[in-house]
């Protein structure tokens, strides 16, 4: 192992860390291919694939026709035949046309063939609100995939995790949906190691230690929750903040241990509350920490409405204030 001093790092934003992760894997594995709409010469609408076509050639970083089912469907064909496609959905809200290919094929092929065929594919997609994007662009539909047997779902909240999780996702032998929080793309920079490293799938992170309440979030909501947690600390309420990082499979032990300790949980997500992944977290708590609960589990989530036009998006998205409110309600239950 190298010591910290020997590891060269760069200050990167989350989107740059994604590019770095892709570059690392394109370099290391000839089977890794990047494909999608505008990922080639244009470098992606967020520059997530900037420079990669020039560096690795347009036959490894491929612009495709504008057809999400086609992108995923051909990626499946590539994946069962020796390649590791990393397909980009330009926005997660445009994954819906590909839903059938993911649901009936990508996620089932290993099962259906008793592992004779498998689909080591990553579907990358920017998601979430807060950047004043047009309709559909801001959808957070992770639970359409956590409910889909055979898919893993991963969401980084910071540049370090973004690179490490992306590499782990590409190395994973099975299909992974890799969601990238747009609002966090350029929000801040981290020291990101230049070399290859992985952040293990299925493991969340405890960002702050606390006693009174467990706050659970992912993606951009981690930063939002962080602000709430800081306010609470100032008021003497000690929160344990968990960044789930992987939404399927959930890090059961992390959630269980924390809620067993605090007896209270506030879950934060952007997606509509009904049917959201918050309910899966609730289910883990119900099973693992029932006897420890001192208040109902609370959710601060998107409403059961379509993601609104951007003039109202800040009303829709969970805010530190709404989270504070929920924490206080939980503590005073």
């Amino acid at each position: 192992m190298k010591t910290a001093a020997e590891i060269k790092t760069n200050k990167l934003t989350l989107v740059q860390a994604v590019t770095d992760g892709l570059r690392t894997m394109l370099k290391e594995h000839e089977e890794v291919l990047v494909l999608g709409e505008d990922v080639g010469q244009n470098g992606g609408v967020f520059r997530a694939t900037d420079g990669l076509a020039a560096e690795f050639g347009e036959d490894r970083v491929m612009d495709t026709p504008l057809a999400e089912a086609g992108i995923v469907g051909t990626s499946i064909g590539l994946a069962i035949n020796g390649f590791r496609p990393v397909a980009e959905m330009q926005f997660l809200g445009f994954v819906y046309p590909a839903y059938e290919q993911i649901m009936t094929h990508a996620s089932r092929i290993r099962s259906r063939t008793l592992s004779r065929y498998s689909v080591p594919m990553v579907i990358r997609a920017p998601y979430g609100g807060g950047i004043r994007a047009p309709e559909i662009h801001s959808d957070s539909c992770e639970s359409l995939f956590t409910h889909m047997p055979g898919m893993k779902v991963v969401v980084p909240s910071n540049p370090y995790d973004a690179k490490g999780l992306l590499i782990a996702a590409i190395e994973d032998p099975d299909p992974v949906l890799f969601m990238e929080p747009m609002r966090s793309y350029r929000a801040f920079k981290d020291d990101v190691p230049e070399e290859k490293y992985t952040v293990e799938l299925g493991k969340g992170a405890k960002l702050t230690e606390g006693e009174d309440v467990t706050v659970i979030a992912w993606g951009n909501m981690v930063a939002t929750a962080q602000k709430a947690v800081e306010k609470m600390e100032a008021e003497g309420i000690s929160c344990e903040l968990l960044d789930l990082r992987t939404l399927y499979p959930l890090d059961k032990d992390l959630i269980a241990e924390s809620v067993q300790k605090t007896g209270r949980a506030v879950i934060v997500h952007e997606a509509p509350e009904t049917g959201g992944v918050g309910n899966d977290v609730l289910s883990v708590i119900n099973e693992e920490a029932f006897l420890y609960l001192r208040a109902p589990v609370s959710k601060v989530a998107g409403f059961d409405t379509p993601f609104p036009f951007f003039s109202l998006e800040e009303e829709y998205l969970p805010t530190p204030e709404r989270i504070v409110h929920a924490i206080k309600k939980s503590v005073t239950f």
Partner: protein
């Protein structure tokens, strides 16, 4: 297939008539010019508003005015229009309100609501999804026994989506009175048409459905107008759908968030401005015909400017977005989940405890 589907043109870039089978009245020409100028004024203003941060991301269409205005002018009252995010020249011409169009880009849901009596569907953001809607709405008119038609707008990139195929297939099977109006600007964001499809034309895709297909110079408002009119009339007669490919060019960026220099030489756009511009060619034609008049142009320009400026004012004076609109229109009859979320949230906003 370029031979089987020649690009139909009435007026070339220099303003010369290349097909004299149409009756071109001064009135028609001036009307189309005025509409194109109005569309261009809206478009340029919107780009500026975005630069100044007064609206959000915007999708410009400068260069495509002939396609949009020519086709929309061929429609009649009561017809149905299914536009994309870029077809404001068409919706405007068809009777949409400038203020509404601008509100859309200001992140306001009100931007989706057409003037009373106008059948203008909200812009389709997910590519190609509006084609089956146009087919369905047209089937509905046919069932009602009217002679109304629908028109769907979409780009070259949209032809790759499954919904393009399904929309056209249904229309052909049900002989629905639809015009599928494609604006082929050669790019889907950065992806050039050669990477989008192996075919040289989009019109030829009609052959898959035994549907009529036609290619038209999309910068020639007269050609677009007459060809669309033919398709519309054919549809009204109950003779089914048509696929029109209007070959055009968008001068500017895909949207204001896009940097076209990443994928194409913007010099080309500048050259095209002089060579194939829809407005310029009409001016040249009018000049040649002797009915172009600078004063008239200035008047029309001033009128367009006034109208657009006034719409900007209206847009900016528009009351703030109402949070209740977000909760209030998911279902016609309220459901408890959303009602509870609304109440909790409004209570929270008022600073009370829930």
């Amino acid at each position: 297939m370029e031979k089987e589907f020649p690009i139909r043109q009435v007026l070339d870039g220099e303003g010369n008539i290349t097909d004299d089978s149409y009756d071109l009245s001064e009135e028609l020409v001036k009307d189309l010019y005025g509409k194109m100028l109005r569309a261009r004024t809206l478009d340029k203003k919107s780009v500026n508003l975005q630069r100044q941060g007064r609206i959000g991301t915007y999708a410009p269409f400068e260069g495509q005015e002939a396609s949009q205005v020519g086709s929309a002018s061929a429609l009649g009252e009561g017809d149905w229009m299914f536009p994309t995010y870029r077809d404001h020249g068409a919706t405007l011409t068809f009777g949409h309100s400038v203020t509404t169009i601008m509100l859309y880009w200001k992140g306001r849901v009100e931007g989706c609501v057409p003037p009373e009596g106008k059948n203008i569907f909200p812009p389709a953001v997910p590519i190609a999804t509006q084609l089956p809607h146009a087919t369905g709405a047209a089937m509905a008119e046919k069932r009602k026994g009217t002679d109304r038609v629908s028109i769907a707008y979409f780009g070259d990139g949209a032809t790759s989506e499954g919904d393009f195929h399904e929309g056209l297939n249904f229309a052909s099977v049900f002989k629905a009175p639809v015009v599928f109006f494609n604006q082929n600007n050669g790019y889907a964001i950065s992806v050039p048409i050669e990477k989008q499809m192996n075919s040289k034309t989009i019109a030829q895709k009609s052959l898959a459905y035994d549907m009529d297909g036609v290619r038209v110079d999309g910068n020639d408002v007269l050609a677009v107008y007459f060809e669309t009119k033919k398709a519309v009339e054919k549809a009204r007669r109950g003779e089914g759908p048509t696929l029109i490919e209007a070959v055009t060019w968008r001068y500017g960026a895909h949207t204001t968030a896009d940097d076209p220099t990443k994928y194409r030489d913007q010099q080309v756009s500048e050259e095209k401005r002089n060579k194939i511009d829809p407005l310029l060619r009409l001016e040249r034609y009018m000049e040649k015909q002797g009915f172009f008049d600078e004063q008239w142009k200035q008047d029309v320009t001033a009128q367009c400017d006034r109208e657009i400026e006034q719409a900007v004012e209206e847009m900016e004076a528009f009351p703030d977005a109402d949070i209740n609109d977000m909760f209030g229109h998911v279902f016609k009859e309220p459901v408890w989940t959303i009602e509870k979320q609304r109440e909790d949230y409004l209570t929270f906003k008022r600073g009370e405890t829930v």
